[in-house]
């Protein structure tokens, strides 16, 4: 009984608090759910930087709460429920695996705003999704990889076989191939977002088999640390964060996720009453995807090409998925000159022609 009363009163409180929605709010409690630790130096670190930017932008008007290392699945639902009951006005869930828990909890708390990163389900009016066009950055990395490899073997450490990751692999491969027709891509699935030892093992397996350029789609800096052991024979890229500490080592460039503008904008919208459900997907042009400094290890000419590629993507004159592109089985996907519709990308479950190996189902 007591518990029910508690829940009811909490819900009442939320309803009262939300009465002010249309006119904006005086104070917003913004909550963040992280899949890894904020000290991972990659994905979660960048989300936390975004959260800190929100705090800085609005000062007293915003209260930040966050929880690290929240497993994807049932635990996430528990954490989200606690946050919603604890008075959070807007909750950012920052990993793909929180998609169903986010929607499930959103159904129970219609007055709390939910923002799910990298997902595609918006089952309730209070769920928005946001993502960044990382594949644009992967195109630039792919070009550098194709030009830089000496063994013509490049590698990619994948986390989970979800559209987000597959998109990145395809973009990376297409542009490596364009830069160097002889290139071969090896993909290793780590089946984890964050496990430094396993990520290092995956990088080691790639290196042992002659790969000399490694891109990763996991959250820690371990693949770069492994590449650093080869004394310059193997290069890699910073993932999610700049990973600048490996600049004098294997890191030749990076993709930086810059969530700060989005978080500041959304919390601001909640404060001034202009908040509305949306599906945001910004890329290099919108400032959400940044290309980290390309180091001197890359010849000036390749660097210039990579930067030109970046700028043409930012200007909208070039789309990384421009036909003709065939699927892995040889069936046509994009016709000559056609660009990939966003729907195709968000549901991408196939490799493009030329990549060896199957996507785990």
């Amino acid at each position: 009984m007591k518990r029910r009363t508690l829940l009811a009163s909490a819900a009442m409180g939320l309803m009262l608090a939300s009465g002010a929605f249309a006119q904006g709010m005086d104070k917003v409690k913004a909550c963040f759910v992280y899949v890894g630790p904020i000290g991972d130096g990659g994905w979660t670190y960048q989300h936390h930087q975004g959260a800190l930017a929100v705090q800085e932008a609005y000062g007293d008007k915003v209260e930040i709460q966050y929880q690290e290392n929240v497993p994807e699945g049932a635990d996430a639902e528990r954490v989200l429920t606690q946050m919603a009951l604890g008075g959070c006005n807007i909750i950012f869930t920052t990993s793909f695996g929180y998609m169903d828990p986010t929607n499930a909890v959103a159904a129970k708390f219609p007055d709390v705003k939910f923002e799910h990163a990298t997902g595609f389900k918006r089952e309730y009016p209070n769920v928005s999704t946001y993502n960044a066009r990382f594949y644009e950055g992967r195109a630039v990395q792919g070009h550098i990889a194709g030009k830089m490899t000496k063994s013509n073997k490049i590698g990619y450490i994948g986390s989970f076989p979800i559209p987000e990751v597959i998109m990145g692999i395809n973009s990376y491969y297409l542009h490596a191939k364009k830069a160097n027709p002889n290139v071969e891509l090896s993909v290793v699935w780590a089946f984890t977002w964050f496990d430094p030892a396993k990520e290092a093992d995956a990088a080691k397996a790639l290196i042992d088999q002659g790969v000399d350029v490694i891109a990763s789609h996991t959250d820690s800096t371990a693949p770069l640390a492994e590449a650093a052991k080869t004394n310059g024979a193997v290069i890699g890229f910073g993932q999610a964060s700049d990973m600048a500490e490996y600049k004098d080592g294997p890191r030749v460039s990076s993709i930086i996720d810059n969530w700060a503008p989005y978080y500041v904008k959304r919390v601001g919208a909640l404060l001034d009453g202009t908040y509305a459900q949306q599906d945001a997907w910004e890329g290099i042009a919108g400032g959400e995807v940044e290309i980290g400094e390309i180091t001197d290890k890359v010849p000036a000419e390749v660097k210039a090409e990579a930067e030109a590629l970046r700028d043409s993507i930012a200007a909208g004159t070039y789309h990384p998925f421009t036909g003709p592109i065939n699927k892995q089985d040889g069936s046509p996907w994009l016709a000559e000159g056609a660009t990939a519709p966003d729907g195709d990308l968000l549901g991408m479950n196939f490799f493009v022609e030329g990549i060896v190996g199957d996507i785990p189902q």
Binding site: G36, E68, F191, K204, Q209, A228
Partner: protein, 310 residues
């Protein structure tokens, strides 16, 4: 030389290094459990050792001191467990789990500011001309000293537990603490020392992750290795050499499955990913099923607290 695109020599050399953290932690836990104490805090002690080792190595510039630092930190944390379970007679399972959570939290707090720093390298022990020999070079001579140390510890623990007076006392305490007490052994003091030893070993294992295998510090760097170590102890029937086999199997298949993926073996990745867990358990279960009853050998007093008044 290559089999299915994989070079077995490099594979074996890699697995020996990648098994060290689990092996060290599991060996320590073997001694702890042989003394009748179930310490589920291995993961916590490993991660504290990983941080402690990293911090010491970064500040002193010496990886050897780093490993010692890791051992000290692991042992210090385990003494909390020892105090709670041996002096205050707290439940071992609950205390062990709490120790893991505590260790992860403390290491996360203490590790602030150490992200992105590179530790001094733990180099190869033997000169290059030995390591460059074909086949035996990478497998036998090409490792850092911790790999040899872990194998040495396996042999030492096997010998101590099997053939020495100390081993006999530890086993007596673990099999029947009342009988050991009646013989005049200080049960709780012996257990306390075993727990500290286990903590030190787990700490070294953790330090190997942050100093040699990954080498860097990030929160939660051990990522569950402590739990694997615990499982291996049980499936290895509390025997040091079997612990070594278990750790090498697990490490080996983990490395192998990644290599198979790179080589494009065509085996579905899902099966490869679960293979390390499945095969390790399977092999060790089959090994201990051979001699029914006797080989199952869980210490009879495992997980029970002792107080002289009982």
């Amino acid at each position: 030389m290559d089999i299915g695109g994989i070079n077995p020599v490099i594979l074996i050399a890699t697995l020996m290094a990648s098994a060290v953290p689990i092996l060290m932690a599991a060996l320590g836990e073997t001694v702890v459990e042989r003394a009748g104490v179930l310490n589920l805090g291995v993961e916590g002690m490993m991660v504290i050792g990983a941080l402690g080792g990293f911090v010491v190595a970064v500040h002193t510039g010496s990886p050897v001191l780093g490993f010692i630092g890791g051992a000290v930190c692991g042992a210090a944390l385990s003494l909390i467990f020892a105090a709670l379970t041996q002096i205050f007679l707290a439940n071992q399972v609950a205390t062990g789990l709490a120790l893991t959570l505590f260790g992860l939290g403390v290491s996360s707090l203490g590790g602030q500011g150490y992200n992105g720093i590179k530790p001094p390298p733990t180099g190869q022990l033997l000169p290059d001309f030995l390591a460059d020999l074909p086949v035996v070079g990478p497998i036998v001579f090409g490792h850092d000293w911790m790999v040899y140390f872990s194998i040495l510890m396996t042999a030492v623990l096997w010998w101590v537990l099997k053939s020495t007076r100390i081993g006999l006392i530890i086993r007596a305490v673990g099999e029947s603490h009342e009988a050991a007490h009646a013989l005049g052994y200080k049960v709780n003091r012996i257990r306390l020392m075993c727990i500290a030893f286990g903590g030190a070993m787990a700490g070294i294992g953790g330090a190997y992750v942050s100093l040699a295998r990954v080498p860097q510090w990030v929160d939660g760097i051990t990522a569950g290795a402590g739990w694997i170590a615990l499982a291996i102890v049980v499936f290895a029937s509390w025997k040091p050499w079997r612990v070594l086999i278990g750790a090498y199997l697990f490490g080996g298949i983990t490395v192998l499955q990644l290599n198979l993926q790179v080589a494009g073996s065509g085996i579905p990745v899902e099966y490869l990913s679960m293979a390390p867990y499945l095969i390790t358990i399977l092999v060790l279960v089959i090994m201990s099923a051979g001699r029914r009853g006797k080989a199952n050998g869980a210490p009879a007093s495992l997980g029970q607290n002792f107080h002289a008044s009982r």
